[in-house]
């Protein structure tokens, strides 16, 4: 496959770049297949505490595996057309909607969710006990322009709704993008929050409202 061979040659180039001196001086590194086998065993051995369902979190699904290429995988640049199409289809097929059909919920509930960075963390094999997960949004995105404590790993979402409006189409796009960002941009840094079960469809709808509602702090300025 063309995409794979491209990826292989890039990986090889990056090895030479990083460790050229070593390669020149002595024996070679193990091949990619051996490394994958070794490391997967190490991952298995590294996690011993907790119920099997928690331990299984470190096992990759097919999409995660495809997005784990050496050298980074943000965006679709390093994927072949077929790989990208397959990832998008898998992502799109996974999207589910709230039973109520309402894709935009209550922005005030959303406001609580977006700044909450907690949920699902494990210590000594136990998951933290919370009524529900935070949505983690401001870890990476600016949303309310008056909030300083926001990250910038993801793009700023200030005035998101002001720029796009709050039509049904915008609500649907926003909902789907949060539910599974890989349906739009395979291997994006953005977690597949709905597909992975981190957020419920209702929680995602509240976050959508926070982004597009005219009354939300996101769109007030």
């Amino acid at each position: 496959m063309k995409g794979v061979s491209q990826f292989m040659s890039r990986a090889a180039a990056s090895v030479v770049g990083l460790a050229g001196l070593v390669i020149a001086g002595c024996a070679a590194f193990p091949d990619a297949e051996t490394t994958a086998k070794n490391t997967e065993q190490m991952v298995t051995d590294a996690h011993t505490l907790g119920a099997p369902a928690l331990i299984r979190r470190s096992v990759q699904d097919t999409s995660q595996r495809a997005c784990s290429m050496i050298g980074g995988s943000e965006g679709s640049a390093k994927l072949s057309q077929e790989q990208a199409a397959s990832l998008v289809k898998t992502a799109r097929d996974s999207i589910q909607y709230p039973a109520s059909g309402k894709l935009s919920g209550d922005w005030k509930t959303g406001a609580q969710l977006v700044t909450d960075g907690r949920g699902q963390r494990i210590v000594n094999g136990q998951v933290e006990k919370l009524p529900g997960n935070g949505a983690l949004c401001t870890n990476c995105h600016a949303m309310d322009p008056t909030e300083v404590n926001a990250g910038d790993v993801g793009p700023s979402l200030v005035a998101y709704g002001k720029q796009r409006g709050n039509s049904e189409a915008v609500a649907r796009y926003t909902y789907e993008r949060i539910y599974n960002a890989w349906a739009f941009m395979p291997c994006s840094n953005m977690p597949r929050l709905g597909t992975n079960g981190f957020l419920t469809p209702e929680q995602i709808a509240h976050v959508v409202a926070y982004l597009i509602d005219a009354g939300s702090p996101v769109n007030r300025q």
Binding site: R57, P191, F198
Partner: protein
């Protein structure tokens, strides 16, 4: 008495926090305050107290075998701490494994001093109720390389194997948030909330992170944390299962990261939020 004295008992960490969360003006980026706070802390690093306690622990006869760690070979010969941090992780013939500083100290505490492995692992991270011997020993050994440069070598086949495993793990996405290390540490100048994220694919940033980073006194934890704790904490935030202390996976990541920091001038312990 022609003395005038000015005294200030400073709650240094409360001060640093106040600097970080103060009003942000148009001229100053939010992280400027954090950088200033870190600079203030670096001048009087409480981690130095861990270095001194670590030295006392290293030379004291302890454990069921009533032995010191002065026969512990950290890669520079028995009991030699100077330069040890600079070349770790490395391959050790007696264990037939690549080991980082923590896993090697664990071996020495078990083999030379007769401590139980599970006891050392249970107390690996200090709490407000109980100091950790491991955190003190790592501080002492780390500081003993101050002024030297990172020089991790990949001469043994197992060292190359660990390096490649660490690289693979760095890019491996998993868990309910689909994160790999590279998700947060693949670009320069980014933040999670107000926390600066080093770009670990850039050697110049890695040199600083590794050579002046861990072990580091963490103000919010009131103790020195080690690289093993840093990795454990990342796995926790990534919603992955507990990362086993001294596990091969943890050593592989450290081998990959420390190797990329070669040439960085060591100044430990660091100071972190």
């Amino acid at each position: 008495m022609n003395l005038s004295s000015r005294a200030a008992a400073i709650c240094a960490f409360a001060l640093a926090l106040a600097t970080g969360s103060g009003p942000v003006t148009a001229q100053s980026k939010p992280e400027d305050g954090l950088a200033l706070g870190r600079k203030m802390l670096a001048e009087d690093n409480p981690g130095d107290l861990w270095v001194e306690r670590g030295q006392r622990l290293f030379t004291a006869k302890r454990g069921p075998k009533n032995a010191s760690l002065e026969k512990c070979d950290l890669g520079m010969g028995p009991g030699v701490v100077k330069g040890a941090f600079a070349q770790l992780p490395r391959y050790f013939a007696d264990t037939d494994k690549v080991q980082d500083l923590e896993s090697r100290l664990l071996t020495c505490m078990v083999e030379l001093q007769g401590f139980k492995r599970e006891d050392i692992i249970r107390t690996r991270f200090g709490t407000l109720d109980r100091d950790s011997d491991m955190e003190a020993l790592v501080s002492y050994v780390g500081a003993a390389s101050n002024g030297l440069r990172m020089n991790v070598r990949l001469t043994h086949a197992k060292e190359r194997e660990m390096y490649k495993a660490g690289e693979y793990a760095f890019y491996r996405r998993s868990g309910p948030l689909d994160f790999a290390c590279v998700t947060c540490h693949g670009e320069s100048g980014k933040r999670i909330r107000l926390q600066d994220l080093p770009n670990m694919t850039k050697a110049e940033e890695m040199r600083e992170v590794v050579a002046t980073g861990w072990p580091a006194y963490r103000g919010t934890h009131s103790t020195v944390r080690t690289m093993q704790h840093r990795l454990y904490d990342c796995f926790w935030q990534m919603r992955l299962p507990d990362l086993g202390f001294a596990s091969d996976l943890s050593v592989a990541l450290t081998a990959y990261l420390n190797y990329s920091a070669n040439g960085g001038e060591i100044k430990l312990p660091g100071v972190r939020r």
